[in-house]
Symmetry: C2
Subunit: 324 residues, 2 copies
């Protein structure tokens, strides 16, 4: 930077300003500095900048997994917003393990990220207090809670589970099954699902647990378990669309007619839900918007533009298609 300053005949501060706040310089000075930067192939060192300014322009996001497409839209929405503000994204995977999440949070804190996006509202002991002590903006996503660490955007997994059961019961199905993982959010959906069944004075549901992340293959296997069980169900609610697609494919293989012999319902409304044959009835959530909201509210807080809202319920909706 000193070399650039010398070549441009200015001081180092001016070079710094040329990089960070170009509008605060006289156009001519700016032009000279830029020429010098180009000639010397100068690459501004953001690390030093971050240290001096105490601002990293980095946001970290932790998702359970990126290989399953369910969270990638949220990351994408977040990335969209961040790139508009020259922010970079650190990505971490918790693999559905709260301890792993806690470890990632520690390293991100050490790297002085300006903000953090978490998946879910269920965390390891000590995480809440550590983050509050750190005082950095945090957004929890994909769920709601009356007591967020800082901000939260999502929807009620419990209500979504209820809605799924109500939809199926409304369609006349009487023996319901649930296929899903054992993470906090899947279990919340299951709880809602059970509650609605109870309200309708039906028995069940039959439950098959899969290991997270739940894949297409888990769906196929789950159908097998379901069929070998004692009770014969007429509808299955899967806690994500991939699982549901796996069930659907297995039905095709086994010659089970959907929805006549078995209704199938998914969750998330991934692109495959609308594309698959028969089209999948599912619960739509606003995956991309969650990421965008997280990004926007992090930025709002970092730029002190406004008092961002603390909680935001994006809701969900049952999308009725052919499979149920």
């Amino acid at each position: 930077m000193e070399d650039v300053a010398r070549l441009a005949g200015v001081s180092m501060v001016t070079v710094s300003r040329a990089v960070n706040t170009p509008d605060k310089l006289a156009p001519q000075t700016l032009a000279q500095v830029r020429k010098a930067i180009k000639k010397l192939h100068y690459v501004h060192n953001q690390t030093a900048g971050s240290l001096a300014s105490n601002r990293s322009r980095i946001i970290a996001a932790i998702v359970p997994t990126i290989a399953s497409s369910i969270f990638s839209d949220t990351v994408d929405g977040l990335a969209q917003t961040l790139s508009q503000h020259q922010y970079q994204l650190f990505l971490g995977q918790s693999h559905y393990d709260l301890q792993e999440e806690a470890r990632l949070i520690d390293t991100f804190l050490g790297r002085r990220v300006d903000g953090l996006v978490l998946t879910g509202v269920d965390h390891a002991r000590g995480v809440r207090s550590k983050l509050q002590r750190a005082g950095l903006p945090v957004v929890e996503t994909w769920d709601l809670t009356p007591r967020p660490i800082d901000m939260v955007v999502g929807f009620s997994n419990f209500s979504a589970g209820c809605a799924a059961a109500e939809y199926l019961i409304g369609k006349g199905f009487r023996c319901l099954a649930f296929v899903g993982g054992t993470d906090h959010r899947s279990l919340a959906r299951l709880k809602g699902f059970k509650e609605a069944i109870k309200q309708a004075r039906l028995s069940g549901p039959v439950v098959v647990h899969t290991t997270s992340p739940s894949t297409l293959l888990d769906g196929s296997k789950a159908l097998g378990e379901l069929l070998s069980g004692g009770r014969v169900c007429d509808a299955v609610f899967c806690s994500n669309d991939m699982l549901a697609a796996g069930v659907l494919f297995e039905c095709q293989r086994k010659g089970i007619k959907v929805p006549l012999e078995l209704a199938v319902m998914g969750f998330a409304d991934l692109p495959i839900a609308a594309g698959i044959q028969p089209a999948l009835t599912t619960v739509q959530v606003h995956s991309t918007v969650m990421g965008q909201w997280a990004g926007a509210n992090l930025m709002a807080r970092l730029y002190r533009l406004e008092k961002p809202s603390i909680a935001h319920d994006l809701g969900f909706s049952v999308v009725a298609r052919d499979s149920a």
Copy 2:
């Protein structure tokens, strides 16, 4: 850090060593320092560490998109390797735009990443020289080239295209079609596909171009175009499995029997290929391994453990299933 040092009755370097190289301390000293760290809730500042040590422990990866699952396994493989070495991952999306890739490279260089993983071997002007001048390890993926920027791991997209055509021709299909995007790698596959058709003295192929990233929906639409075209084809090669799945679903909707009336072949061997009904014949590539190789060779170079290889051909294989 000074506070910790004082409380533990040691100097700052000792605290630094307790964090970075704990085995170089006497067990007792280490314990004292750790106690002080805990008591004061000290969070080590890696940014300052990076500046002082000139090493960020960050690797940046640029993929065309994360929302399409095709590259997420590579990112996952990379992340696996990095986490073993306490490295963090910056993720950027180029959206299939070389200029966008170049911009991302600039910001990553400014953040002094220790290494870079790129998708493809086709880049904007000036990128090669800039990276070579920066002197940081770079791995290009998902393709091969005789002249890598630094290291390259992948497979020949041209050969994969050939292999697809040869497989279909070997199965007796005579009028082939290609559905795929217009990025460098898809076009290389198309080139190979054409070459093999020419070698077999057949005419065609019929080509339908989609916009990248190519989705399920693009596949459905592409089948429409294919059917409305003049020539009636008996086999389609899709440049990724999602596209192929879209074609398959559309065939089901239109009552076209696969593979009897139309054979469908995909690319990448995503989980859906094996799961879908009928199971999709496809070209398998080693998506996760590419990421792992990239990570391992970046680490090898950064730790100077060995002279890493410059180019690595992971190959591919045609997986024959039911759709073709």
